[in-house]
Symmetry: C2
Subunit: 179 residues, 2 copies
């Protein structure tokens, strides 16, 4: 029996973590939810991480995804910003791991290639294609669109996701199912 | 009634997270435990973060600290290393926050000043002073010693910790108790 796969896509940033949830049923991609988790600027580390972790816990509780895809961040030129980005990303993945979700990683290049068809696409093109692919009536905010784009990338790179999820002994490696 | 305060000190690194647990009873510092959490090199992010989170959960489960102190990391020259460090640190703080532990941050300078008395101390001096202050019979591994040093810094910078923990309406700000 084919079971729907619900993917939680995350685009972690130092201040805003975009998220998007997509269902995959019979090669169809269905929009479930999307949005942004915003931390309070100048809040202390534990406070900022608390916001990320608590919101992700709530999102997982409400939507119950069974897979997670996270965008691999670009390394920023500014070391302090890179550290902040790393901390936000580490906290987000920790929240996913603690909820027992398998986590797949995709680079920004892979996301653009999967969603737009070329690696050098502008942010607006990603937003546009997310709207098209999911048949949305409005355009989601940029970070939310990135979250949805990562979820779609995971779905597109694993075409047979919905067909294979029912099988046993699936081997998972490097972001791809290997039957 | 004066209750003992149990501090979990952490020194997060991209590969090794040092931890040290110290009890504070009547201005006395008593060694409880220390060690290292080592991630598997070249493991994927979710795997490395899983190791950090699971081990910290176990440490918190076994030793039940009521406060946590984390060393503020130096920003590395290498952006990729800085990102990895940030991710490890974010995951560690996420694990502490999810267990409801209050988290205090101290810079490496503050740790050295508190434990050795000067900000420019060598790693060996920190190890030496940790051994002296806790009356240890052996010298802990460098990262474990750093974990103990952060815990001791939190204790030393809040001298009245043990005396005040029983009071209500304590205001906590910037790593210090403000009665």
């Amino acid at each position: 029996m084919i079971q729907p796969v619900r993917i939680l896509g995350l685009d972690p940033g130092s201040r805003t973590t975009g998220f998007g949830i997509v269902d995959v049923i019979n090669r169809q991609h269905i929009y479930v939810a999307s949005g942004c988790i915003k931390t309070i600027p100048n809040d202390e580390l534990a406070g900022r991480i608390g916001v990320i972790v608590e919101n992700l816990n709530e999102i997982i509780e409400v939507y119950r995804p069974n897979q997670a895809a996270v965008e691999q961040v670009f390394v920023n030129v500014n070391p302090a910003a890179t550290l902040m980005l790393g901390q936000a990303r580490g906290a987000a993945v920790a929240a996913l791991v603690m909820r027992g979700l398998p986590v797949y990683e995709y680079t920004a290049l892979q996301v653009k290639q999967a969603v737009v068809g070329k690696g050098k696409a502008a942010k607006e093109q990603v937003q546009h294609m997310v709207v098209q692919m999911l048949g949305l009536s409005g355009t989601p905010q940029s970070d939310a669109a990135d979250g949805l784009a990562v979820a779609l990338t995971h779905a597109l790179r694993n075409h047979s996701l919905a067909g294979r999820i029912g099988l046993r002994d699936i081997q998972i490696k490097g972001g791809r199912f290997q039957p």
